[in-house]
């Protein structure tokens, strides 16, 4: 659905549609699950509580009390990626996490947040992050650019890891699925392989959502406690 406003292309794409669906699903799941909250949780409520406590522990273990303000962000990020990755496994759906634009946007957002948090908490002292304590001052011209580059590489790795994992999985399934057509009578072999791959993809989908979230948390920890 092409849409141009003021020279900016804001067309409503497949990815946008899937993201809307995912957000609606998360909101719906959590709202329905907690609408009739009982002391002994039912099935849906268990799912919601499990996800919530998982993210809660992730933040708590790594950030402690100071991490409270970031919990909503980490939780939404985790749920968004988790559902996005898992939903992409449903045939004929669209995997927006395999689009580098989207993972890069998320990673840049995390990167900006981490940098801003570090600046707010430490002010100009933040720049000491780029120079390890105890190193001789003569080394500074060499160490500082290296540290800056390695800091700037963070959002890139964050974006590429999620994108590449999802992309690789889906491509692999498509290729092996293609063998089924070529093999004629033995079509069932690649189909069986695909079934196994599907299980693997499910693990990867959940794991990558977790990895993205935990790395966000770890970067936040770096920002809060420099060194």
């Amino acid at each position: 659905m092409p849409l141009h406003i003021g020279g900016i292309d804001i067309s409503y794409t497949n990815a946008a549609l899937m993201m809307t669906i995912v957000v609606v699903l998360i909101a719906g799941l959590l709202l329905i699950a907690t609408r009739r909250a009982r002391l002994v949780p039912g099935r849906l409520q268990s799912v919601a509580e499990l996800a919530y406590e998982f993210a809660d522990r992730m933040v708590d273990d790594n950030l402690g009390e100071e991490g409270r303000p970031f919990f909503p962000f980490v939780f939404s990020l985790f749920m968004f990626l988790l559902l996005g990755n898992v939903i992409a496994l449903i045939p004929f759906s669209f995997s927006f996490t395999a689009q580098i634009v989207i993972t890069a946007t998320l990673a840049l957002f995390v990167f900006a947040l981490v940098t801003v948090v570090a600046f707010v908490r430490h002010g100009l002292h933040f720049f000491s992050f780029f120079f390890p304590t105890g190193a001789p001052l003569i080394m500074a011209p060499l160490i500082v650019p290296i540290e800056i580059v390695s800091y700037l590489a963070r959002p890139v790795t964050l974006a590429i890891r999620l994108f590449a994992n999802m992309m690789a999985g889906h491509t692999m399934m498509a290729v092996i699925g293609g063998f089924a057509v070529a093999l004629g009578y033995f079509f069932f072999l690649p189909v069986l392989a695909n079934v196994a791959l599907y299980a693997l993809e499910l693990i990867v989908a959940v794991l990558q959502a977790y990895v993205f979230a935990i790395l966000t948390v770890l970067y936040l920890r770096d920002a809060i406690h420099l060194h």
Binding site: L39, D61, N62, P145, I146, E147, V149, S150, L152, A153, V156, T157, I160, R161, A164, N165, L207, Y210, V211, L218
Partner: protein, 113 residues
């Protein structure tokens, strides 16, 4: 006879849940920083880490060259800086993975990371 037990079944349930949580927590260590990925995930991670830093270094070098007109020196210098930064990142990632559980709790975990 029932005086010894807490009269409220819910309180007992809460106690049991707390205890189970504590046990689970001790069993896993604090789980901090340890990566739950398999060997493939680790390989993936390290490869990406190495390439990404190099890419960032090259991008910076190229950009500086365009702005300052110092072609090709920025590219060359930042290529090496990027390579070093990549190795540094790989080293850090490997250290994080290798940290694992504290000694004495390592049984049954070798196969995981």
């Amino acid at each position: 006879m029932s005086e010894g037990k807490p009269p409220d079944p819910l309180a007992r349930l809460g106690e049991r849940i707390d205890q189970a949580r504590r046990e689970q927590f001790q069993r896993r260590g604090s789980g901090r920083g340890a990566s739950p990925q398999g060997p493939l995930g680790i390989a993936f991670r390290i490869a990406i880490e190495l390439v990404a830093a190099l890419g960032v270094g090259l991008a910076i070098g190229w950009g500086l060259d365009r702005v300052l007109g110092t072609r090709p020196w920025g590219l060359i210098v930042f290529f090496f800086i990027g390579a070093v930064a990549g190795m540094l990142n790989v080293f850090r990632a490997a250290k994080e993975i290798g940290r694992g559980p504290p000694p004495g709790q390592s049984q049954g975990r070798e196969d995981r990371d």
